[in-house]
Amino acid sequence: MSSRAPRKGENYELSVDLNSGYAEKRKDAIKRVIASMTVGKDVSGLFPDVLKNMQTEDLEQKKLVYLYLMNYAKTQPELVILAVNTFVKDSDDPNPLVRALAIRTMGVLRAEKIIDYLCDPLAKALRDENPYVRKTASLCVAKLYDLKPELVIENGFLEQLRDMIADSNPMVVANTVAALTDIHNAASARPSSSTSDPGIFIISPTILNRLLIALNECSEWGRIAILNALARYQAQDEKESDHICERVVPQLQHANGSVVLAAVKVVMIHMRGVRREDLTKQLIRKMAPPLVTLLSSPAEVQWVALRNINLLLQKRPETLSTEIRVFFCKYNDPLYVKVEKLDIMVRLANESNVDALLSELKEYASEVDVDFVRKSVKCIGQTAVKIDAAAERCVHVLLDLIDTRVTYVVQEAIVVMKDIFRKYPSTYEGVIPTLCANLDELDEPEAKASLIWIIGEYANKIDNADELLNIFVDTFVEESYSVQLQTLTAVVKLFLKKPDSSQGIVQLILNKATACDSPDVRDRAYIYWRLLSTDPGAAKAVVLANRPPISIPRTTVSSALLEELLGEISNLTSVYHKPAETFVGMGRVGVESVQHKEATFNDEDPFSAKKALQTVAAGQYVENLLDFGNEATLDGQPTGLAATEVLTQPAAANLMAGVSANPLDDLVSIFAAPSTNVISSASPPAPPTQHQQEDLLGLF
């Protein structure tokens, strides 16, 4: 006898009832056992008593006992063997429901002892005359493979599955494809796998045709399995690519959004092989309406769709170019949906729709939710940077917003203005007094740093620049490091522009900064000091050098990664915008394997490797890239627009991303630092960076 419960308490009573002479009482007891199991009580001790009730004509009772077995088989491996007889008997039952139930349950018991008895009934079930049993059996092969692959191979189940792709029943075909794909994934994930591994599922042209036929007939979920297999198929030639696309396009009309996305994926993949311009155009045209319709789904589905649409637009911006209005936020949308919509709106902004967009963004900027408001303001700035012709209108909207004097709106607007100054130098100097008038209201480092940068940059145009900067010099010690860095640089700029009137302030700031406890601030102060004292001309060349103008990049991930993600549409990869290695498995393989992948992708874009590394780094540590690389450029402005675009995690997650406290940041910034310029414009690194790095070395 195994460990029995003591002769009292709930479990004892249950045990008595389970052995009762009355069927009704026994069944009721089983229900109570399951109820206890559901609320998390341990009823594993009742195993033998429950098992006695397994042989019954009552289907509901049988299901309950099976359910109990699924939960506790692992805890009572030596007792499971007692269930084998009933299982084997049930797999021969005249009722297909019972046969399928037995096969399905045996597959998930995961007990060695059962497994050995599974093979014979399974072989029979795969040939069962009832399709319901066959479709259940085909998935059971995948379950068995997960547990003991060698048994599957020895018994020839794989060959049997491959034959079943030709089954007359579309549901059986769909489940068979799902099982083969599952086995394929398991086989190819093994480190020692090779193409000769029996588990590898290669889709031949014959299989392709069968799948295309079954696709039109099977249930919604079956279609997804088949579409996923089609996505893996390597088209032999252009004609075949055309054919696949044409056959898959009707699925875009399916009511199930995940079927639509799976179809979009297949089309995006096989469109690479399509050479006919008109067909490509037609395919893209057909994809747009179903994508828009996904926005009428429940919020969670919308969000998944939006994340994927964002990727699609990076590759094919023309897909939804006229549809910006459908992305306008609804008042009751959850924030995570609104934030994604904002990103897409900016992506779709062009000269013809920018007025409607700006009026929306302005409306959003007066809503209640602080995160949404900030993001909306940021989008106004991005629109300004993106569309030259609209920049002035954007600036006017920003000035209107600054007029509201709502502190977080004002601060965000100032950060954004700095980016506009970077894109359009010396164009909007007229607004500087308005910005400076709000100086007292600023309490966020980023806003302060931005305003200080603007003051430093236009020091020669602002009469009282030294007074304004003095305010920050006075509070220097209390400020955060980013503000300190900006203050330091701005004062030096002021000195270089107006040497006569600012001798005192520059000396003061250098004294304060070299005594600072942040090495970054200290080092930068020393560099300036040395530069100023040895060669003021060089100092000018370094500090006042022209920076490359910023722009909104078309993609947020490297082109190689983008292709990979587009091939995974609707999967988590394409929802997170991160390669799968970063969130599955050990989570530590990231950087190396991506490097490896970059090599295999053989991409001509020299920057994409760096970006992919950033993506990995950002993905693994879910940190904010905003904070990387500050140290590298003298003007120290990778924050704000230019940098936000590199973010790869879901935008919502970043809204308020804090300052990173990750020790690996330094490592990460090695990748990030030289690429600040890459992000900005993909132009050659600016000379100041190099100068500074040389000087840095000189210090040691």
Binding site: N216, E300, V406
Partner: protein, 437 residues
Amino acid sequence: MASLVAILDLKGKPLIQRSYRDDVPPSYVERFLPIVLEIEEDGQQVTPCFSREGINYMHIRHSNLYLLALSKRNANAAEIILFLHRITQVLVEYFKELEEESIRDNFVIIYELLDEMMDFGYPQTTESKILQEYITQESHKLEVQARPPPAITNAVSWRSDGIRYRKNEVFLDVIESVNLLVNAKGDVARSEILGAVKMKCYLSGMPELRLGLNDKVMFENTGRTARGKAIEMEDVKFHQCVRLARFENDRTISFIPPDGEFELMSYRLSTPVKPLIWVEAAVESHRGSRVEYMVKVIAQFKRRSTANNVEIYVPVPDDADSPKFRASTGSVQYAPDKNAFVWKIKQLAGGKEFLMRAHFGLPSVKSESEVGNRAPITVKYEIPYFTVSGIQVRYLKIVEKSGYQALPWVRYITQNGDDYSLRTAHEKGSAPIRQST
């Protein structure tokens, strides 16, 4: 694919769960809510999918419940999120309401359903009509043991054989929901029509149906000219019973319908719609004492139509009190839970225009938030015998081998969508009330 599916209460306690694959231990379910709280505490957004320590959490909200799926792999997020929604649909159809209590009372049947709806992490049968044929609350009362309905695996997986009706009838409801956003200037910023054709089928045997609409593309393809207006549907979605390839070929909507009630198709039009019901409000706010509203509604549709059950929600500050209303028609109520007052008009005839006034007291101490309630005015309504798009059912052909005659009935209705909002509440002096023309 999902390794585990669970239903949790708002405190994160699992009410019921089912493991489908062994790679994610069930104990991870209980980590879900702490992670959610942690994300919220960091001031970030909780998105429907997120990853922690190698486990992917995918979830949806349904009233006071979380439905959660876990996976260790690069799972198909769209499929799983939709599957979770489908679970709620099926459970709602089984128990009317899906909430903590109905789950506790029906755990046996939910286990059965979870077993049938997903296998090894792959969704299987999620048609509640078919499931109800062999998984029922009264199964133990059945003399005969349930068998799998052939429909589960048939090519026609949505209809069983041998259905008989004495009177063969089909009811078609064409329902159009209008989503619309009017900006503060009074222009329509966004509008769309979401249409749905819903059917109630009481037909014997295996009938073949063919539905004809005044579809512009179909007319163009066949070279015929439409009598009257033809409409251009931008995106059409069909119930799985409709033969998609056939539609793709010649725009024919042909199908074998499920039995009973179902949604045959849905479509979308983004043709600009003029607001059928126009509402605007003039707001006179005296900080620290009172706020007054003058609301005007105009029925901007033909005189022969009437809008029923019109409800106009006008947002008010959350600290407003002692409401007073005066309306030229209908009734007005304060709905403090929605921070709004509701003006209800049972019947609003086309072309008519009405006014109402509201008066609220405001506390003399100013509320904390600097930004007021910026919610738009929203409107609910139904206009029977009318579609905005002009869609029409031209014919519904029913062919069954027994050759019976069946009667199709068609009804049209237009209503508000889930987002019919107008940002037309103006502080006095900011913009003039539009003159009705």
